[in-house]
């Protein structure tokens, strides 16, 4: 056997022994960490049993959840049913109220339209007012004429007194009559003036009373118009509500 061959064989043996030694050390280390088989099998069995328990619990909980879900669904259906019944009932009531409101609004509208015809009353009042003022003017004219006659009478009575005085004793009786006439004329003149003042008072009362009625009537028409507008707003709200509800019904 040559020396190189022997050296190669020796090297190989050394490497092999080193490898085997390393393997042995590795195996020993592995064996140190290995659990004995029996212990392992026991652990496995216990784990399996635990898993079975947990699975049973899970199944039981799933069943309970399932039952609770069913109960919940049933309860919800019942509630929905109740709500729908109530909603239907409320809608029916609301619809009935709306119909009544619309009907009342319609009646109010007709009343307001009739009340607006109060304007025709002004035309009648205006005609009466013109007649009354014309009547007052006629009375003024008659009074003016009366006052004029009375003034003439005063002058005539004065002239009569003068003539009576000229006639001397013969005219004494006439003088008495003339004095009486003058006294009556003066009273008539005063009466004419008082009557004239009363006519002016009458004119003021007539004019202001008529104007108060005219202005008051316009105030009422204004209030009625306000009512009419409110009524229309209510009607349009009711119509709007009904339009919204009908698709839902």
């Amino acid at each position: 056997m040559t020396t190189p061959l022997m050296l190669t064989l020796l090297m190989g043996a050394i490497v092999l022994s080193l490898l085997l030694g390393w393997r042995a050390r590795r195996l020993h280390a592995t064996l140190q960490t290995m659990v004995p088989r029996q212990v392992m099998e026991d652990s496995q069995q216990r784990a399996q049993a635990r898993i079975h328990d947990l699975q049973d619990q899970i199944e039981a909980l799933e069943q309970r959840l399932h039952d609770a879900q069913r109960q919940w669904d049933a309860r919800q259906q019942a509630l929905i049913g109740e709500q729908q019944l109530r909603l239907t009932h409320s809608q029916a009531q609301a619809s009935q109220s709306q119909t009544q409101i619309a009907s009342q609004c319609g009646t109010l509208e007709r009343s307001i339209t009739e009340l607006r015809n109060v304007g025709k009353t002004y035309e009648r009042w205006h005609a009466s007012m013109d007649f009354l003022l014309g009547h007052n003017r006629a009375m003024h004219n008659k009074n003016d004429e009366f006052a004029s006659i009375v003034r003439q009478l005063v002058i005539v009575a004065l002239n009569a007194s003068i003539e009576a005085a000229r006639a001397g004793t013969m005219g004494r009786g006439f003088a008495v009559v003339a004095d009486e006439m003058r006294s009556l004329s003066v009273r008539a003149e005063k009466l004419a003036q008082d009557f004239r003042s009363s006519l002016y008072e009458n004119d003021l009362i007539t004019t202001t009373t008529f104007q108060d009625m005219q202005a008051g009537g316009k105030m009422i028409v204004g209030a009625v118009t306000g009512l009419e507008l409110q009524n229309r707003k209510i009607l349009s709200l009711v119509d709007g509500q009904q339009a919204v509800q009908e698709p839902c019904a």
Binding site: G119, Y122, E123, H126, G222, T225, G226, L229
Partner: protein
């Protein structure tokens, strides 16, 4: 042919408004109250604009406007109120009767002539 009808119980207003409109090349007819206004409008359907007082004896202006729409069935003529009133209730009543506008007296011709001409164009 009248394009504009001026309705007012006061000759002062009729003349003031009418003369101003005529000086701006517009044809004008006049009426003394609502009843007269209705009758003149019925007789001349070519009128395109009515300028109308509210407070008038016999028929007032708002009643006239309502009757123009309901009795004369004239929905095309423009109606403007010229009045001392400006209450919201009256304006609402006017709007419901289809009036186009509202002027509080006194009449200011230069301020409104542009808009009035557009209404009769």
């Amino acid at each position: 042919m009248a394009q504009i009808l001026v309705v007012d119980d006061s000759s002062t207003v009729r003349n003031e408004v009418g003369d101003f409109l005529k000086s701006n090349g517009l044809g004008v007819a006049l009426a003394v109250d609502g009843r007269d206004g209705l009758s003149k409008l019925k007789a001349d359907p070519a009128v395109k604009l009515v300028i109308c007082d509210v407070n008038m004896p016999n028929m007032d202006g708002l009643t006239m406007a309502e009757k123009v729409r309901s009795e004369l069935k004239n929905s095309s003529v423009n109606i403007i109120m010229l009045t001392t009133e400006n209450s919201p209730a009256m304006k609402e009543r006017g709007k419901a009767a289809g009036i186009k506008g509202w002027i509080v007296k006194p009449f200011n011709g230069p301020a409104v002539i542009g808009s009035l001409k557009k209404m009769v164009a």
